[in-house]
Symmetry: C2
Subunit: 383 residues, 2 copies
């Protein structure tokens, strides 16, 4: 019963990187020519709990102006997320982009509360900055449990540049007032910074152009048959409505869902089950990237679903979406077995507590996603 | 089993205002001479959902430096609270004090959610800015139900001065960094601004000197036998743990309770049941006040318990406290029949989720409170 958005195309066309480039560029021009080329670059702020390919894709896209990066605790503590963002900007030579540090703790949830929750309702597969150990042996590495203010030692080296003095929420508010109706906020971590911005300034969400959010989980199915895919399937097989970004700060997610955004696109865990950051994809990107970025890409861990990359990609090129559905979406902020679960309703079934319609991306085209990633990584040439 | 703090005194001494003044002044000097006179004035920020005698007491106290007023939605919408604060400053000739507007909406709670809550668990007696009508005939007036951005028409006239451009949470953060360990925050509305400040800056609470908070309810007993006292008893007789400031934003209250304050004093609804803003008290204060303030006092509604005035008074003169108890305090943020209820534990019983020890004021000396109010209102003379 999903509202499908089929994309007519032949996957045969996407066999080599050079063909991909040409076609990718054509697709990109087609998708954005009506707005970006006529009226200038599309403005974006990226809010996240780290720095990854999503950032690189958006920062490399010649039609996109990244106004700033804002950081929040999630997978990493906020200070580490800030350092990763700064170092990432150095690696791709974009130290002109400001980074604003944000929330260190979720609104109501806490590590102590999560301990109690697990004692009542069972262990979480992934807990981000609060993760001490895996329950089962897992291919994915751990950064090592540490405190929010512990010294930073990034594997890619610590950054030399500094973050802005402005807090993330204040930066977000200032920017949407400066460019009303123009800024797309692409968020892929817990929603704490956005919720703070909204509660500081009720006009915040309504002044943004749109929100594109990687988070939530609807009904993911394991699509790839390998160890990493099986490992990540643990996150949803017995809890299909649970996803880390939301579960880390359910109250913030609910605030965001009940805020007056003009447009919301949700990229849940679901479409990412058909994708994977394989070693070969990393190598392929590295082979087209400038030396420092290439080295950075080659040291990345493989196996991750392309959660955040999908969020960037469907915003850059909406034709990558194969199926999507317009639903009312909210998140459960009641402390109980379903704390942080995604709630959704087809229009007419929603409770009417302020939850908003969102376009929920169900499936995307993995090959064209990879092609877009390779194309964007190579932007600017091997400088 | 409470830890009593008896205050030896004879109420015979407090019969006339003039005696009260002299003694009040002596008490005041005694209470503050060790700090205020030696090291300068005691610094305060007042966070509230309106403007009242609490503000006047603190603004008139010659030993107190009010760094600013911050406003939040609660009894009034934030814009009305800001206007009331600005107008109040004009009336007492203190337009040098900045007012920073704050949160318009509580973090998670909402008017729509409150409608659902009432349909499930019964009607609230008081709902502040969301109040449309009383369930039962009540002496207390209503301001008239209206929206958060509706035009301001204060009975005391609209202010000519303007609020600061800085948001309340940012002002609070900036001030505690400017005067680390020096600022007492006296709060008497929902805790939204303070919770936002804490989540924006984890150092916030720890940089304040202390928090004095009017809110929560432990086990109030009706102490006065008149119509107003009976009306207000409706708020706690069947819900002794419910109090409006907390119930309006339970999540913010819980965040505040789990924040690293150096010192917390809670002034719940309990001690106020022995107090009342009588017409004679208003007239007595007016008779000693400067003309504009006197006129303002004479137009105030009578009958209210002296909730906020107690918070100001016990901070100005801790010897007004007759009994208090050191308890761990938190507030229920679970949506259910007890949403927003005060939770408390004698040390050793607390769950250890981050809740903090607080000094909970149980009873105060009503006569000395009134004497202090009269004394402070008259500060500066009938200019």
């Amino acid at each position: 019963m999903t509202l499908s958005t089929p994309v007519a195309q032949s996957s045969v066309l996407f066999r080599t990187a050079s063909v991909v480039w040409q076609l990718g560029l054509a697709v990109l021009l087609l998708a954005t020519s009506g707005t970006a080329l006529a009226e200038g670059k599309r403005k974006v702020i990226i809010d996240d709990d780290g720095f990854g390919m999503m950032h690189i894709m958006l920062l490399k896209d010649p039609n996109v102006e990244v106004l700033g990066l804002t950081s929040v605790t999630g997978d990493l503590w906020e200070k580490q997320a800030v350092a990763s963002a700064l170092r990432g900007l150095e690696i791709i030579g974009r130290t002109d982009v400001p980074v604003a540090g944000g929330a260190v703790y979720p609104l109501v949830n806490s590590e102590a509360l999560t301990d109690r929750w697990e004692a009542l309702y069972g262990k979480l597969v992934w807990k981000g900055a609060w993760m001490k150990q895996w329950v089962e042996p897992t291919a994915q590495g751990l950064i090592g449990y540490h405190g929010p203010d512990d010294p930073i030692n990034l594997p890619e080296g610590n950054p030399k540049i500094k973050a802005s003095d402005e807090l993330a929420a204040n930066f977000l508010i200032r920017m949407v007032h400066k460019y009303p109706g123009e800024i797309s906020i692409i968020a892929a971590g817990p929603m704490t910074n956005l919720a703070l911005a909204q509660r500081l300034d009720p006009a915040f969400a309504g002044l943004a152009k749109e929100l594109v959010y990687m988070g939530g989980s609807f009904n993911p199915q394991q699509m790839l048959n390998n160890k990493s895919a099986s490992d990540f399937a643990r996150e949803y097989m017995n809890s299909p409505r649970r996803e880390f970004n939301i579960r880390f700060d359910p109250e913030a997610a609910s605030i965001m869902s009940r805020s007056p955004w003009k447009k919301v696109t949700v990229v849940p865990a679901d479409p990412a089950t058909a994708t994977q950051m394989t070693r070969s994809l990393l190598d392929r990107m590295a082979s087209f990237a400038a030396p420092e970025l290439a080295a950075h890409l080659r040291m990345q861990a493989a196996g991750f679903p392309l959660w955040d990359e999908i969020a960037a990609a469907v915003w850059i090129d909406p034709t990558l979406v194969r199926s999507s559905e317009v639903l009312f979406v909210d998140y459960n902020s009641q402390f109980g077995p379903s704390y942080g679960d995604t709630l959704s309703w087809r229009p007419g079934y929603e409770p009417g507590l302020g939850e908003r319609k969102a376009t929920v991306v169900r499936t995307i085209d993995p090959e064209r996603l990879e092609a877009l990633m390779v194309k964007l990584v190579s932007e600017g040439g091997k400088h």
